[in-house]
Every structure is written in structure tokens, then in C-alpha cells.
């Protein structure tokens, strides 16, 4: 018979205000096996843990139940407390009477009743607990960073600086990401390329960093400390070692009609291309979809002009398999498609553009060489209108429910830069709210208004109507003056919402990392573990986790790196002992369990057994506890009940069911 202690936490008033903790103690004490029951203000506090320690020692407890907050919060705390008192940490069960009880119920009587039942279930379960020992697994001292934007680069640099090998996998032909497309950055207006390029160079030159560009993660298996990842290196059609980056091929390529992704489709590029001048690696790729040689077999100009003989049309995709201890996701963002927002005439007029397109127009290396001009007729604009929150803060299906966070600031930046360089251009910004939390942010926005004379109008735009004269008639509202406004503009710039990169769902699925309804990766805890995924060994860097600007991204990238380093620094990891176990006397050896095991943790051996006096050789299942992650799929697949899950055994769960339905 177990000797069970029950500890009921008040959690200040969080629990005690709705649950009569004394009553819970009283009722729990009546349960079979319970030899000790008490309550305390804060069980997780040092004093609370000391009470647990004392009770275990004094009353020789063999199992404890803590009625408190979610086990996701403090299970480890109480397990460690038990361990210090000499009790096996797996002899601890938590009854979640906060998140699942006191916080959601208002009626004290009801909540108390429920808390008692939850306590009984936990007591019933712990009565059947058995001591478990954690195993050990190794840590591969190498990290993978998925995404080569500023988040990925910073994370990789920080991990590499700590002395660990890092691989960056970048989907496009060059690292640099969104930041490389930006002209200037807020709130200091320094040139984006000037601060990013040195980091790109540093990453590519770092002896611990290996960069796979034009590559994608194809498959992930394994678990924390021991991931195995297949990386598809897409055929570049250019030999990376031979290419000198002279650029002649791109000049001579006769097929120059492909929309230039880097310039957001505002101009075109050649079929063999590097996305931008400072690309790393400075080795072009052939876009096979648009290359005449690949489409028709005729051409081959690039191969002819390449002095280095680097063009290789017969290159094939290559799969590289690598092992990693930690994985950092830094897949970044894109702006949403605006074809659902045609009240702003985005698909009807080339002079209605997104802010990211404006970024390219204002960039010296962009499609207009940095001259502010209309795409339709290359005329310099006289009047520009910016519209905020296009697709952000939308409750409807076409937009995003969240605030994209960066738009207020970059719009102020754009407005300021335009007014600075072209003082005769009138700039009007339609806004709902101007949100500028951040160091020197509001000051920045105020400067745009006060020093640069940007006209901020509180109100939205209802329609942008392209006029016969080429002007854009903007119909908006000024909520302060309570007037509808009709103004002609030469260009309209839309602050389109940002959204996580489209590929992130695929990657999250491979990593079994959870993802929210907006496709942002979920953090392990929104406040306390913001850079970790709930999946052990997977960390989050940058906008893949939620909208953020460059300084925040860099800060999070560093934090993710530290978390990864903390993992890589360990030689061994303790494994979860709640693994499946097969009863050799019950096992039929039918292999049904092995068929559903996602980890290949089940194998079969033939061994002589003694089944109540019958000695015979049997074929039965064996679980490799280092591989088993404890999902329990096998336990249900097993018809004979031979396979059971330690810590969540059939009898334990049934005991909980019985206690709840009693």
C-alpha cells in the first residue's frame, strides 16, 4: 500500500478564492492510502517545498499529489522537491485545480467539488505509480538554422561564436532575407545594406558556419539532441567552386523577362541570376523554369561566355543528410497578397504599391535606381498617400487579425525620407492609430509630423479610383474633422500586413512544432519561454514567431542562440522515462505495435521465457527506451494489453476514469 501525501496550494487567492482548499484537504485525507494532507499559500515557494520535503521524510511518503497549477507549470518543480527528499520524482502527480478549475469556475461550491474530484483522480493515479529512472541520450554538437535572413544570420553567428558548428539552410540563392530588400531602417535611418552586408560576410567567412543556399529542409527525424535532417540542395546549374562571380553570364543571358522577385516584380531579371549585387554566395543560379536552354534545349549562351566553365546544365538536386542537436527556425515573413483589397485598386493601377515595393523604388539598386517615380509613366509624384493597416487588424477572412507592428514606423520612415529628399512632394498618411512603442519610436514619428510636415489624417480610405488623367482619386475620411476627403494622388502606398512565410507550416509539421491559426510558430510559454518551441530542441528566431522589427528580431535571434548553445553545451540529456514497455508474457509478437511506432523504437527478439512453468521460445516486442518518446500509439494498437506506457499506464488512466466517474 502506498503512503500518499496530498498538498493543496492556495496560489495566493488564485485558487483559494474559488476553491475551498481546507475542504479539499479534508476530503483528500479520506482517500485510501492518503496518510498526510495539508494546504499552503504557495506550494511552489521555498517554504512550500520545505513542507513537502518534511512530510515525505517524517511520514515516509511513497507518493505525493500536489493540487496546484498546471503540471506544465510546476511539475518539474515538485518532482525536484520530491527527489531532494529522497522520493523518486515520478511518484509525483499534479491535480490541476487552477487552470482547469479555480480560474474557470465562479461558484465556490462547484469549484470545490471539482477540485476534490481532480484530487481523487490524481490520488488514484499516484497509488499505481512506480518509480521510474531517467535514461540518457547523446547530444550532437551542431545546430541547424532554417532561414538565412537577419534572424538566422544573427542566431548562427552567436552559436558559432560560442564554438559550435552551425548550418544555415536558405531557400533562395542568397542569404540576406527581407532586410536586404530594405533601403533604410528606422528609427536611425541608417542604410539597411550597410549594416546587414558585414554580417552576411561574417557569417559566410566564419569557420564554424556552413551555408546551404538554394536549399530546403526536406525531412526531419529524431528528437532533441539527436535530429537527423535531410537537406535538398537544389540544382544551381552553376559550379560554386568554379564560378568567379564576374556576372558576364547574367549580362549576356538573352532571356531577361522574368519578374524580379527581389524587386518585388517591379522590373525583370535574366534567367541566370544572383538576386542582388551583394549576394552571398556571389554565385548565380539558373532559373530553370524561365531558362531557354532548359525550356527548348537551344541557347547555352551562359556556358559559352563563362570563362571559368562553371555552368553545369546537368546538375541534379542533391540530398544531404546531417545530424543536429538543436534546430532554430528563422523562416521570416512575407507581405500578404493584396488582390482581395481592390478597393485600393492595387491590381488595377501600377501606381498603387506596397511599402516593400516603395522600399525597392527608393533603393539605389532598385528598379528606378533610387529615383522616386511612378511605375506607370516614370513621372515624379507630387502627391503621395499612404494607407495604414491594409489587411492588419481585420476580423474578416481576407485579412489578418493581428497588428503587423512594423508598419506605423516604416511608414513614418518613408514619409520622412520622401519629405527630406523631395520637399515639394506632399505626403498624406491615413491611419487608424499610430502605434510606436519602442525606444525613440514615438519621437521619430513626431519628427515626421512636426519637422517634416507629413500630413497625418486619422481615418481610413474607402476607395482609390484611378482617373482618366492618370491620377488616383483617394476617397477617405477625416474622423477628427468628421469630413469625407477626396484627394488626388500620384502614388498610393499600402502598408500591407505581414504574414509568416508560406513554407513555415510544412517546416512546423516536419519539426512537430506547433503553429497557431495565423501560421506563427507557437512559443513554449508566451511570457516565460518566448524563444522556445514546445517541441524540445526547437527554437524560434524572428518573425516566424510573431511580428517584430529588426532590433527585436536581432534580440530574439540572440536569445534563441543562447538557448541552443545551452543545449549543445550538455554532453548528455536525460530522457523522459515515461516510455512504452512490453510485457513479455503477454506479447503475441504480432508486430502491430511496431507498425504504428513513429520512432522505430520497437524491435522483436526471440527469447526463451518461463510462462508459469511453461518454458518456450517466444517472439516478442522490445522497446528501445532511448528512441521511444512515449506517445502511446503502440499501447492502443496492442490487442493483448502487453504494451503499456510507464507513467500513463492503462491501470493508471482507468483509475483516473473511475475516480472521476465515481
Amino acid at each position: 500500500m502506498q503512503r500518499i501525501g496530498v498538498f493543496v496550494c492556495h496560489c495566493g487567492s488564485n485558487i483559494a478564492a474559488t476553491v475551498d482548499v481546507k475542504k479539499v484537504v479534508e476530503m483528500a485525507a479520506l482517500e485510501p492510502g492518503v496518510v498526510h494532507a495539508e494546504d499552503y499559500q504557495y506550494m511552489c515557494s521555498e517554504a512550500g517545498q520545505a513542507k513537502i520535503d518534511a512530510a515525505i521524510k517524517e511520514k515516509n511518503l511513497t507518493g505525493i499529489v500536489v493540487c496546484s497549477c498546471s503540471p506544465r507549470m510546476h511539475e518539474t518543480t515538485f518532482r525536484n522537491a520530491a527527489k531532494r527528499a529522497g522520493l523518486n520524482p515520478y511518484m509525483v502527480e499534479i491535480a490541476n485545480i487552477r487552470e482547469h478549475c479555480s480560474w474557470i469556475h465562479k461558484n465556490m461550491e462547484e469549484a470545490t467539488k471539482k477540485a476534490v474530484i481532480l484530487a481523487r483522480a490524481a490520488i488514484a493515479k499516484v497509488s499505481l505509480n512506480t518509480p521510474l529512472q531517467q535514461g540518457e541520450s547523446r547530444v550532437t554538437k551542431r545546430a541547424l538554422v532554417i532561414g538565412g535572413g537577419i534572424a538566422g544570420i544573427q542566431t548562427a553567428l552567436d552559436i558559432a561564436e560560442a564554438g559550435y558548428e552551425v548550418d544555415i539552410v536558405e531557400k533562395t540563392p542568397s542569404i540576406g532575407g527581407r532586410m536586404s530588400q530594405l533601403d533604410k531602417t528606422f528609427p536611425t535611418l541608417d542604410c539597411s545594406a550597410c549594416i546587414l552586408t558585414p554580417k552576411m560576410v561574417e557569417a559566410s567567412a566564419h569557420e564554424k558556419i556552413n551555408i546551404y543556399t538554394y536549399s530546403e529542409v526536406e525531412k526531419v527525424s529524431g528528437f532533441v539532441g539527436d535530429f537527423t535532417v535531410d537537406i535538398r540542395k537544389k540544382a544551381r546549374s552553376v559550379n560554386m567552386d568554379k564560378c568567379t562571380g564576374c556576372g558576364v553570364c547574367q549580362e549576356k543571358c538573352p532571356s531577361k523577362k522574368t519578374p524580379n522577385e527581389f524587386n518585388r516584380g517591379l522590373n525583370t531579371r535574366s534567367a541566370i541570376y544572383t538576386p542582388f549585387a551583394q549576394a552571398i554566395p556571389n554565385v548565380p543560379v539558373i532559373d530553370r523554369e524561365h531558362c531557354t536552354k532548359f525550356k527548348t534545349g537551344k541557347c547555352g549562351v551562359c556556358a559559352k561566355v563563362c570563362q571559368a566553365g562553371a555552368i553545369e546544365y546537368d546538375q541534379q538536386d542533391e540530398i544531404v543528410t546531417e545530424k543536429y542537436g538543436a534546430i532554430v527556425v528563422a523562416t521570416g515573413f512575407d507581405v500578404i497578397k493584396l488582390d482581395q483589397y481592390d478597393e485600393y485598386a492595387y491590381s488595377q493601377s501600377p501606381d498603387v504599391i506596397t511599402s516593400l515595393e516603395l522600399e525597392r523604388i527608393m533603393n539605389a539598386a532598385g528598379p528606378t535606381k533610387g529615383h522616386l517615380e511612378r511605375i506607370s509613366d516614370h513621372k515624379a509624384p507630387k502627391n503621395m498617400v499612404f494607407i495604414q493597416c491594409v489587411g492588419s487588424r481585420c476580423a474578416d477572412k481576407r485579412g489578418k487579425s493581428y497588428c503587423s507592428k512594423i508598419c506605423c514606423m516604416y511608414t513614418a520612415k518613408h514619409a520622412m525620407l520622401i519629405r527630406d529628399k523631395y520637399p515639394d512632394v506632399n505626403v498624406t498618411v491615413f491611419y487608424i492609430d499610430v502605434r510606436t512603442p519602442g525606444k525613440n519610436f514615438d519621437e521619430f514619428y513626431r519628427r515626421a509630423v512636426e519637422e517634416y510636415g507629413v500630413n497625418y489624417i486619422k481615418g481610413q480610405v474607402g476607395k482609390v479610383a484611378p482617373q482618366p488623367n492618370g491620377q488616383l482619386l483617394v476617397q477617405g475620411v477625416d474622423l477628427i474633422d468628421n469630413k469625407q476627403i477626396l484627394m488626388e494622388a500620384d502614388m498610393v502606398v499600402l502598408a500591407a500586413a505581414i504574414e509568416p512565410n508560406k513554407d513555415v507550416r510544412k517546416i512546423a509539421t516536419m519539426l512537430t512544432a506547433s503553429i497557431d491559426t495565423n501560421n506563427f510558430l507557437t512559443e513554449a510559454h508566451p511570457k516565460l519561454r518566448p524563444v522556445e518551441s514546445p517541441t524540445a530542441g526547437v527554437f524560434l528566431s524572428g518573425v516566424c514567431q510573431g511580428p517584430k522589427d529588426i532590433p527585436e528580431t536581432v534580440a530574439q535571434a540572440g536569445a534563441a542562440a543562447v538557448k541552443a548553445i545551452g543545449l549543445l553545451a550538455k554532453d548528455k540529456l536525460l530522457t523522459n522515462p515515461c516510455t512504452a514497455k512490453s510485457d513479455e508474457l503477454l506479447c503475441n509478437g504480432c508486430s502491430t505495435c511496431a507498425n504504428v511506432c513513429p520512432y522505430g523504437a520497437i524491435s522483436y527478439i526471440d527469447k526463451e521465457v518461463n510462462d508459469h512453468g511453461i518454458r518456450e521460445t517466444r517472439h516478442f516486442a522490445q522497446v528501445n527506451s532511448a528512441l521511444c518518446q512515449g506517445c502511446g500509439a503502440c499501447t492502443v494498437a496492442c490487442p493483448s494489453g502487453a504494451m503499456d506506457l510507464q507513467g500513463f499506464s492503462n491501470r493508471q488512466i482507468i483509475a483516473e476514469v473511475d475516480a472521476i466517474c465515481r
Binding site: 469556475h105 497557431d516 514546445p534 504504428v596 513513429p598 506517445c631 500509439a633 494498437a637 476514469v657 466517474c661
Partner: protein, 147 residues
């Protein structure tokens, strides 16, 4: 819209929640103070695929009026594939219960992610309401085991 009526049928409802998504979703419902009736009691399991039909029948045998299973959304299982197996198992089991004349509606599977506190709460409210409309589970209960 929670059902807080007294002096009437209070159903017993067992909710199996996977540790990674739905249990966390239930925690989020808690920390967001999104109420649902106290009739729902949650049992934590590592994955929806850990839930044996035996557990569900056992609950009914012991007097449960409804059993709901919550797991990660298909494609998002922490163990990659667990919820796919659970989905097939539960589909077949529910179909069998329906075939035996047990009111469908007493059993339910819902995919609730760690971020879906609201969904958890609305699902539980809906489910309790459904069980209320079905009334006491007389068809599957083992009278002998009732207190």
C-alpha cells in the same frame, strides 16, 4: 453562456486531452478565464493516440454521460502521427456505438491546439450543452457501479 443551473441533471464528462496541444489549450482557456461547466474533468494523456477505446467504454460503464477526446490538429501532432491513428480508431469506435444505438453526441473528438483557448472553452460549452440535451446516459451505464 455556460450552463450553471442547479437542482438538475449534472452530467459527468470525461475529457481526454493530449499533453502538447489540447491540455495546453485547456490551460490557456484557464489563464484567459474562459469558463466552461465544472462537469468537465480533464485527464492528461501524452497523445490522443494513447486513448484506448477501453478507457472510453470504462468511463461509460462507470456512469459518464459524455466522453470527449482532444488532440493536436491533424498534421501538428507532437509525435507526428499519433492523432491520425486516434482519428481512425475513434471514427470506428463512434460508428460502432452509433450502430449499437448509443446516442451519437455522447462521444466527440475535437482538435484543439495550444493556442486555441477559446476553441477549448467553446467546445466544452457546446459539448456539455449537447450532453444536457441528451440527458442521463442510461444506455451504457453499469447500474451496479453507481454511487
Amino acid at each position: 453562456m455556460s450552463i450553471e443551473k442547479t437542482n438538475e441533471f449534472r452530467p459527468k464528462i470525461v475529457a481526454f486531452c493530449c499533453n502538447w496541444c489540447s491540455y495546453a489549450g485547456a490551460d490557456l482557456a484557464g489563464s484567459s478565464r474562459l469558463g466552461y461547466p465544472a462537469d468537465v474533468k480533464i485527464i492528461r494523456v501524452p497523445c490522443s493516440c494513447r486513448v484506448n477505446p477501453m478507457f472510453i467504454l470504462r468511463a461509460f460503464e462507470k456512469g459518464a454521460d459524455g466522453v470527449i477526446l482532444c488532440g493536436c490538429h491533424p498534421g501538428d501532432c507532437h509525435y507526428t502521427t499519433g492523432n491520425y491513428y486516434a482519428r481512425r480508431r475513434m471514427t470506428l469506435l463512434f460508428s460502432m456505438l452509433d450502430y449499437l444505438g448509443v446516442e451519437n453526441g455522447r462521444t466527440r473528438v475535437e482538435w484543439v491546439s495550444a493556442a486555441e483557448g477559446v476553441k477549448f472553452s467553446t467546445t466544452m460549452n457546446e459539448f456539455v450543452e449537447k450532453i444536457h440535451s441528451l440527458g442521463k446516459n442510461v444506455r451504457l451505464e453499469d447500474l451496479r457501479c453507481r454511487n
